[in-house]
């Protein structure tokens, strides 16, 4: 269903309805920012790269072929290339193996039951601040720095909350 909505949004944009592009941006932005953040190791650069990826995708939308790849795969490839270009310009190495980036599976639509079980598991995390941090980072698109500021704590503490939350979720969802 989601893929069809995205395709409808693409079709509307191609017909000139620019506002429909917001459906695409809303759908993919949090994952794309995190993806770029992992490659670039910098949140601000990641948001710039993600923004540019959306703009490049908009510019090239007419060339998108849904028989060759899903939109998310195509979008993530655009973002990945931008991040690689940026790393090359800065002569930096990513902490991740660029050749092994999971651009085919990083941000795909999940079945409804999976979504509900994941959301339920997140909501029942203990202590509750773990759930707050996970929701803020993965769903609300906030950076560690923003979360830290909102909770009057340090970035490393937020990182610790999310690391422990993920460990708990791995067990819960195994």
């Amino acid at each position: 269903m989601m893929q069809q909505n995205i395709q409808q949004a693409i079709d509307s944009v191609l017909a000139g309805d620019i506002d429909s592009y917001s459906i695409i941006v809303e759908r993919y932005h949090t994952g794309l920012i995190i993806y770029c953040e992992r490659l670039l190791s910098d949140r601000t650069s990641a948001e710039d790269a993600a923004q540019q990826a959306f703009i490049n995708a908009y510019d090239k939308l007419k060339k998108f072929d849904n028989t060759k790849a899903s939109f998310s795969t195509w979008l993530y490839k655009i973002a990945r290339n931008l991040c690689i270009d940026q790393l090359r310009q800065q002569r930096k190495q990513s902490d991740y193996n660029i050749d092994e980036l999971p651009d085919l599976s990083w941000d795909k639509d999940l079945p409804y039951d999976d979504v509900e079980s994941i959301r339920s598991a997140v909501s029942t995390l203990e202590p509750p601040i773990y759930a707050v941090a996970v929701k803020a980072y993965y769903w609300q698109g906030k950076s560690y720095k923003q979360i830290a500021h909102e909770h009057n704590t340090s970035v490393s503490t937020v990182a610790s909350w999310i690391r422990r939350a993920k460990a708990d979720l791995r067990k819960e969802l195994a």
Binding site: S22, T30, R38, S45, D48, V122, G141
Partner: protein, 398 residues
């Protein structure tokens, strides 16, 4: 070596559409709207084109054509540097023919067009917005400036520059070493003093002395955060008088090309108009595979409870519908537009009601030469709209 883990993928996949970073979404949409509607710096990129081939193309051109030099800066935005760009001036286009198109627009045909350097933007036909009158010379100058901007954008894109930018004019106030200072005049964001350092000049053979005090220049400003002092991301010399680069004037000219997979019909580029969607989604049917999308921008000939007809260049296409899509739009959608988005805020929704004779844009999938299109083959039907030449805050039907 770190690896992405499936759990994170699941967490991101479990996000609801109502959650997210609204500020980021707004910034992206603002940037896209500025590019697509306001600035009318229309770009068509060529995915096959890489940096080397483009440079090679430039180098093949006669030295005499190398007139305008475009420079981008090293002012960092998020750690990104901007590269120097060299852009050519081809022979100025001349207007070969001017005629009134079947839908009542003035169309002009030019030759010796700078845009011919850009494969995806190559066209010899342009259309003027209704109510806009230009002399042949002015039309040629606007088209030349338009193509120059395309070249600038194309070149900057290849260097990974961020083009979430607005264009402004300025004057060089001083030059020193490899840096020039500018006084930027920007009607939207106010004046700005800026310094621009040359970058990558070895590759692009940029000579700082190409800029002299008093030179009129054009600049792109980063507009992603309007509360910040938008830095300059590119400076370049115009090849026409500055007035021909004016975005509000540029949007009066559109490129006319054959419609996608409907070669005998004429279409203007989607980025040169906006649209309001009437129907999207093929009546809920699955997406046909493989997908071969056809495009029509047609004049509405008639609409009934079970079909509507569009006409383009004498070709009529019948679209079968389960209800009168135009009447339903007129009764419902049009009244929601004022709340839909700020760009509709100054427009009387009644003036966006659709009537016979209006221009609609459609995408659909069909076999070759099929002239009756069933409901489940629609991709989208949209009303084409544009900004009033006299008031860019007001939309009107195309």
């Amino acid at each position: 070596m770190k690896r992405f883990e499936p759990l994170e993928s699941k967490l991101i996949g479990a996000r609801r559409a109502t959650e997210g970073n609204d500020i980021f979404v707004t910034q992206v949409m603002d940037a896209i709207k500025v590019r697509a509607i306001n600035s009318r710096v229309i770009r068509t990129t060529n995915e096959q084109l890489n940096k080397e081939t483009f440079i090679m193309k430039l180098r093949k051109l006669p030295i005499a054509l190398l007139v305008a030099i475009v420079l981008a800066t090293v002012i960092g935005i998020g750690g990104i540097s901007y590269a120097a760009v060299k852009v050519i001036e081809a022979a100025k286009p001349t207007v070969k023919e001017s005629r009134i198109s079947p839908n009542g627009k003035t169309q002009i045909t030019v030759e010796k067009n700078t845009c011919s350097e850009l494969e995806q933007a190559r066209s010899e036909r342009y259309e003027l917005k209704e109510g806009v009158e230009l002399s042949k010379e002015d039309a040629a100058n606007y088209i030349n400036a338009h193509c120059h901007l395309l070249l600038v954008n194309e070149r900057l894109d290849l260097r990974g520059a961020i083009l979430t930018s607005g264009i402004a004019s300025g004057t060089v106030t001083s030059t020193r070493d490899n840096t020039i200072s500018l006084k930027i005049r920007d009607a939207l964001y106010g004046p700005l003093d800026a310094s621009v350092s040359f970058y990558d000049k070895d590759v692009q053979q940029i000579n700082p002395t190409d800029f002299k005090v008093g030179d009129e220049v054009l600049a792109y400003r980063d507009i992603r955060n309007i509360s910040a002092n938008q830095p300059i991301i590119a400076v370049f010399k115009p090849i026409e008088a500055l007035k021909y680069y004016d975005p509000s004037q540029q949007q009066n000219i559109r490129t006319v090309k054959p419609c996608e997979n409907n070669e005998t019909m004429d279409c203007v580029t989607p980025s040169s108009y906006s649209a309001v969607t009437l129907v999207a989604g093929r009546g809920g049917a699955s997406i046909p595979q493989p997908r071969s999308t056809k495009e029509i921008q047609g004049t509405l000939v008639e609409h009934t409870n079970d079909h509507f007809i569009l006409e383009n260049n004498g070709h009529k296409i019948i679209f079968q519908t389960p209800y009168d899509v135009v009447a339903r739009y007129n009764q419902t959608t049009v009244y929601g537009l004022a709340q839909y988005d700020s760009i509709y805020a100054h427009t009387d929704p009644e003036k966006l009601k659709i009537a016979v004779g209006d221009s609609l844009s459609t995408y659909y999938t069909a076999e070759a030469n099929e002239t009756t299109i069933s409901w489940n083959k629609f991709s989208v039907i949209a009303l084409m709209v544009e900004r009033e030449p006299s008031d860019p805050n007001v939309l009107r039907k195309y």
